[in-house]
Subunit: 454 residues, 2 copies
């Protein structure tokens, strides 16, 4: 009954809130975002005029300059950069790969995983061991794996309702597959794309090597390519796989987080962050991941200004750098906050795509979460019905150590991994209304956080 | 407090249900639909192999034959056709339209509205009166409007969170615009497309004439075209508009509702209908409207069979014919049900697109709705959080007179009107996961309706 009593209390208190001017203000935020929002046109510029923004690239630097300029043009009280050194991995010339099945040579789409070493100019050509899990691999003898390419082919579980769960259940293959394979003497690792669809696009993403284990090259293969390879392996376990990739890790490069803020009128020293990450993978425009979240975050501050709402606390839009392959920006932001004795009350991240809003996940104590519950009736009319414990976001994660309460914006997850880290994550993948609804939803939460604290 | 007590009671009862085998069965339905569902591949066939299915067309007949065949192949207990005479309107050769602005001739995309008369071979060429509402038009003198083309340019309200509300607020221009214009002597009516986006696709749809009022030709213009026409009219109120359309209403044609059923094991005389409409507009493949709903409905019955669930009541998948421009199939279905003394306990319609499920709207008495509330905890894990009073569906509407409780499947509405009645409503507009989740959601509701009645 305890659970129900808490809910009951929440509802009663909630009905009170709903009668207040807060509902009017929130309605105005949605009206402004939906009728005159800027996030979509900004996203068009970021994706079409700037494009891919992998850490250390010219595109990333252009995005830093441009988002700084946009926030200055909006007349935010302060816009500044935070220096951060980032990994600088480059793909080099396009990869090549084929299955050699007897006399048949079948080209398949692959893409080097971020951080992978190159194959060398001659590429890697070897037999293939298909596995669905690390456990399956570890049960094999070194003799069987040595000199081979390990092919990880565990799909995202289609029966998970939230696709992030399915991703979480498969992504270790990408992150640690090369190392696990190298431990048994493999010469390469090919990983089925983290993609719920059957198509021809490799989905890249970060991977890491472990110290003391040989560095072997690794790549993602499209889901259709993986299905084909698996089928042919059934028929002919002795086929070989060839792949060549030309990637390289250069020395760390200088880059920046970009921060815009509106100064609080009553408690300027209490900060609320709203942010996304400015870097993207290199194969596409980084529209859903995470141009959307960045543009929404700037829009949140613009909505406050457009509606003449003067926040009590300081509100910051943060474009974090290097979420994709290092998280250096997120770590740097928290380090500087600590060093400067800044008090970050709350942080909201949008890094799950610009899809229709469903709610927010909260990382905080039960008491902190309980303070949010009375706001539910104010957010429900906008479809924000899933508000409760959940993930915050990678970039804001390091702020947790400062006692900051973290909020992960939770849009509908069904289509996110169709685009994630692949050549189709372009502007066309984003719906204007869905994007704008997300911006307004984040603004509504930030408004309530500012009004009532935690 | 009454509202809260009811909710509290629902929750307590709900927690009981959630412990039962129902949750296991529903989980299996989602697992089956997401891992081995057929709706997406069926939809591919319906859209790519059959294509547009306007009432009376060869495509509509092919769809009748094919859905009958598919349901027979699934081994449903009975598959049958219901004869129905439908309107047979044809577009004819592609429309032409341009703005004549001084010496400048600017082509704009239009499409005749369903049911419109043709312009005649010379087309219509006249000055333009732009209005945003019937009230604005009616306030004008006949002198001003006579011999002119009335241009209805009220957009869908972007601030409505549910796009169906925005559609409802604009669609009278399309449905009755020609008649209202003709009353004042206009020679044509051009209607801004019911489209939340700014693009170049005219959105068609049904319109009707009133007896005793001249029949004047009418067409939809793309939103970009409407914006341009409005802008040029501001600069030059004397510009003229030319349009030519070649549509024709032929004699009514014979067509069919297609019905498949699984016989109830305990109460075979109590029927639960799940359906969508098989006809579509002629400009595209009719994927979201309403191929999706049809394929989901057949999938509901397939899920019962695949999981070995023998329903107590008879469950029917109904492919209604002619929702778009006549509703003859829906009316005929209810007429036959009445004539045959069939008892239809409930009907579920999917005609809002194959998008991520959000819930169900219920048309019934408060007591009937109250019987559904205890099921909420069983449906919530699947994102079905919006369950309450709401629209049922056009095709099942006529069943209300027989006391049938109507359920409208409610997917996310944000993208529906991007595609609705336009050349881009094709297979590619549909997400496999979203479609399959919808089918499982409908199956879950039908399962509970069958288990517990109303």
């Amino acid at each position: 009954m305890k659970k129900i009593s808490t809910l009951l209390l929440s509802l009663i208190v909630g009905y009170g809130y709903a009668q207040t001017a807060d509902s009017v203000t929130i309605r105005k935020m949605y009206d402004e975002a939906l009728a005159r929002g800027k996030s979509y046109e900004w996203l068009r510029y970021l994706t079409k005029q700037i494009g891919p923004r992998l850490s250390g690239s010219a595109g990333a630097q252009k995005a830093v300059d441009w988002t700084k300029q946009i926030m200055e043009q909006q007349g935010f009280d302060r816009v500044f950069l935070q220096d951060v050194m980032v990994p600088h991995w480059v793909r080099g010339a396009k990869e090549e790969a084929y299955i050699q099945n007897g006399k048949q040579k079948i080209t398949v789409p692959i893409a080097a995983l971020g951080g992978s070493v190159a194959t060398g100019p001659k590429g890697v050509n070897a037999g293939v061991i298909e596995v669905k899990s690390f456990a399956e691999l570890r049960a094999m003898s070194t003799d069987k794996v040595k000199g081979k390419i390990v092919f990880y082919n565990r799909p995202m579980d289609p029966t998970k309702i939230n696709t992030f769960e399915a991703y979480g259940g498969a992504v270790e293959q990408r992150a640690n597959g090369a190392t696990e394979a190298a431990k048994l003497g493999a010469v390469g690792a090919i990983v089925r794309s983290m993609n719920p669809r059957h198509d021809d696009y490799p989905h890249v993403g970060g991977m890491r090597y472990a110290t003391g284990v040989p560095l072997i090259p690794t790549a993602a293969i499209s889901t259709n390519g993986a299905d084909l390879l698996s089928k042919l392996l059934q028929e002919n376990p002795n086929l070989t796989f060839y792949f060549k990739e030309n990637c390289e890790t250069l020395p760390d490069a200088k880059s920046y987080n970009v921060v815009g803020e509106i100064k609080g009128s009553e408690k300027p020293d209490e900060i609320i962050v709203v942010g996304g990450h400015l870097d993207s993978w290199d194969l596409a425009e980084g529209a859903q991941d995470d141009g959307a979240g960045c543009m929404q975050s700037i829009e949140v501050l613009r909505l406050f200004k457009a509606l003449g709402i003067k926040p009590k606390r300081t509100i910051r839009a943060v474009m974090f750098m290097n979420e994709e392959n290092g998280l250096r920006g997120g770590v740097q932001y928290a380090d500087l906050a600590k060093k400067n004795n800044e008090k970050h009350m709350a942080a909201v991240e949008s890094d799950a795509g610009g899809f229709t809003p469903r709610g927010f996940g909260i990382v905080g104590t039960p008491e902190q979460r309980a303070k949010v519950m009375p706001w539910k009736p104010l957010l429900a009319p906008y479809g924000l019905l899933e508000i409760g414990p959940g993930g915050g976001g990678a970039d804001i994660g390091p702020l947790a150590q400062l006692g900051t309460v973290l909020f992960g914006f939770k849009p509908d997850s069904q289509r996110y991994f169709d685009y994630h880290h692949t050549a189709v994550d372009n502007f066309e993948a984003v719906s204007q209304r869905e994007l704008e609804l997300g911006a307004a939803s984040m603004a509504a939460l930030v408004y309530l956080l500012d009004q009532y604290g935690l």
